[in-house]
């Protein structure tokens, strides 16, 4: 039954993608992108990837949309109609699509337990997680311990992207006009959204913290929690105006979160080395290797959460501050 639902969702996904490309109003395109992400999250959930679905829903449907909208406010929202023939690109993608579909017939079918993907390290991870870390969520175990190097790299990519955005857009608008506008922005004058939003913000942040610290036991972890907390603060910024949000969470705190989170992750690795283990081998952190692993996982997940939350919020504020400039 759920597979019929999946067929329906996948078809909707294709329709949404085509609609995104066809529309010339970029606001419509961004809103459809949000729907696309939500459909994608539902598909991920059907395919047993609860952690990924949570991430896609928080990041794709939430943060990405806000960042796109703030970029649209700066860059204009109307796309000019295309000049010239569409035949060449259409032909190219048509031929490529047929080739890829032809190639998929060599792939193992969905859910085939004998597929090559399921033969190498994956069963080992599933088997060894209870023994080495004794935490229920294998995804978190693989993410933070077995493949800690990978995650460290990804965190530094997020860090670098955040620094890049800040360099390109400027940490703060230059010139004497840098004073924050006296007129409060945001939804100050709209009573109902403001009341409801104010009611929701603490719960969103609380849920983010739950996802952060429950990540070892259920779907969740630093990446999701960082995105969810960032969404909560962005909602606050939309309701009360950007200046108010910066008063609550100042830029210095945000930068501290980004740098501190990335450094915390790296520092755990170095501490492991100092205590006689390999880089990011948490077993040496405590007398009991299993407890050491658990401790390491909790600490680096906190680092990931800090870095992601700080990076996404810094990016949002970089775009939002640019809007105040003439």
């Amino acid at each position: 039954m759920i597979y019929v639902f999946a067929l329906f969702l996948l078809t909707l996904l294709v329709i949404t993608a085509v609609a995104i490309v066809r529309t010339t109003n970029l606001f419509v395109a961004v809103m459809l992108t949000s729907i696309f992400s939500l459909l994608m999250a539902a598909n991920f959930f059907i395919l047993d990837a609860a952690d990924v679905a949570l991430t896609e829903a928080a990041v794709g449907a939430g943060v990405t949309t806000v960042i796109f909208l703030s970029a649209l406010a700066l860059a204009g929202d109307v796309e000019q109609p295309r000049l010239g023939s569409r035949l060449l690109p259409l032909g190219t993608v048509g031929v490529l699509a047929v080739l890829i579909i032809y190639a998929t017939f060599d792939k193992p079918r969905l859910g085939d337990p004998d597929a090559p993907v399921h033969q190498h390290v994956a069963p080992w991870y599933l088997e060894k997680t209870p023994e080495y870390m004794d935490i229920p969520n294998v995804v978190t175990a693989v993410l933070s311990s077995f493949r800690g190097y990978d995650t460290l790299g990804e965190v530094f990519v997020v860090f670098a992207a955040c620094i890049g955005v800040l360099f390109i857009l400027g940490v703060r608008p230059p010139g004497p006009a840098a004073e924050l506008p006296a007129e409060p922005s945001g939804l100050r004058h709209h009573l109902i959204p403001q009341v409801v939003g104010r009611l929701l913000v603490p719960f969103i942040v609380l849920f983010g913290l739950y996802v952060q610290f429950h990540g070892e036991y259920g779907p969740g972890g630093g990446f999701q929690a960082g995105a969810i907390i960032a969404t909560g603060v962005i909602l606050y910024a939309l309701l009360e105006g950007e200046a108010e949000a910066l008063r609550a969470v100042p830029r210095s705190v945000l930068l501290g979160l980004v740098v501190g989170g990335a450094l915390l992750f790296g520092a755990v690795g170095v501490v492991c080395m100092l205590m006689g283990g390999a880089f990011l081998d948490y077993s040496v952190l405590a007398a009991d290797p299993v407890f050491g692993q658990q401790m390491g996982i909790i600490v680096i997940e906190a680092g990931v959460g800090m870095a992601v939350c700080g990076a996404l919020l810094s990016i949002f504020h970089a775009f939002a501050a640019r809007e105040g400039r003439p």
């Binding site: 609609a19 409801v196 929701l200």
Partner: protein
């Protein structure tokens, strides 16, 4: 006996909720202008949420998932009407007048220009 009764009630609720979603969807596509369409779409936010979640809570019995479903239902009941209000308010502020119920507006011919 009580199980069968609960099951029947929950399925009736789920079916009614599904019907509400369907009506809301048809209304969103077929009604002539923005304010009438938003009126239809808000049906899915409130009535369908209430019916479907009550049905699902009856299905899951008295357990932790029931509490989670209840929390999600509260969340949706809070945010759905707020989103509808914000949408209508934004339309009003941008100069769209809710004067007549029959006149078609620009976007009515289809979602994508």
């Amino acid at each position: 006996m009580i199980d069968v009764v609960l099951d029947v009630i929950s399925w009736v609720l789920l079916a009614l909720g599904g019907a509400c979603v369907l009506i809301g969807g048809i209304g969103g596509l077929r009604l002539p202008n923005f304010y009438t369409r938003i009126h239809a779409a808000s049906l899915t936010d409130t009535m369908a949420t209430l019916l479907i979640f009550t049905g699902m809570m009856l299905q899951s019995g008295f357990s932790l998932p029931t509490m989670k479903l209840f929390a999600i239902m509260l969340f949706l009941l809070l945010t759905g009407p707020t989103a509808t209000y914000a949408l209508a308010n934004a339309a009003l502020l941008s100069g769209m007048k809710p004067d007549s119920g029959v006149e078609r507006d620009r976007g009515a011919s289809g979602g994508v220009q």
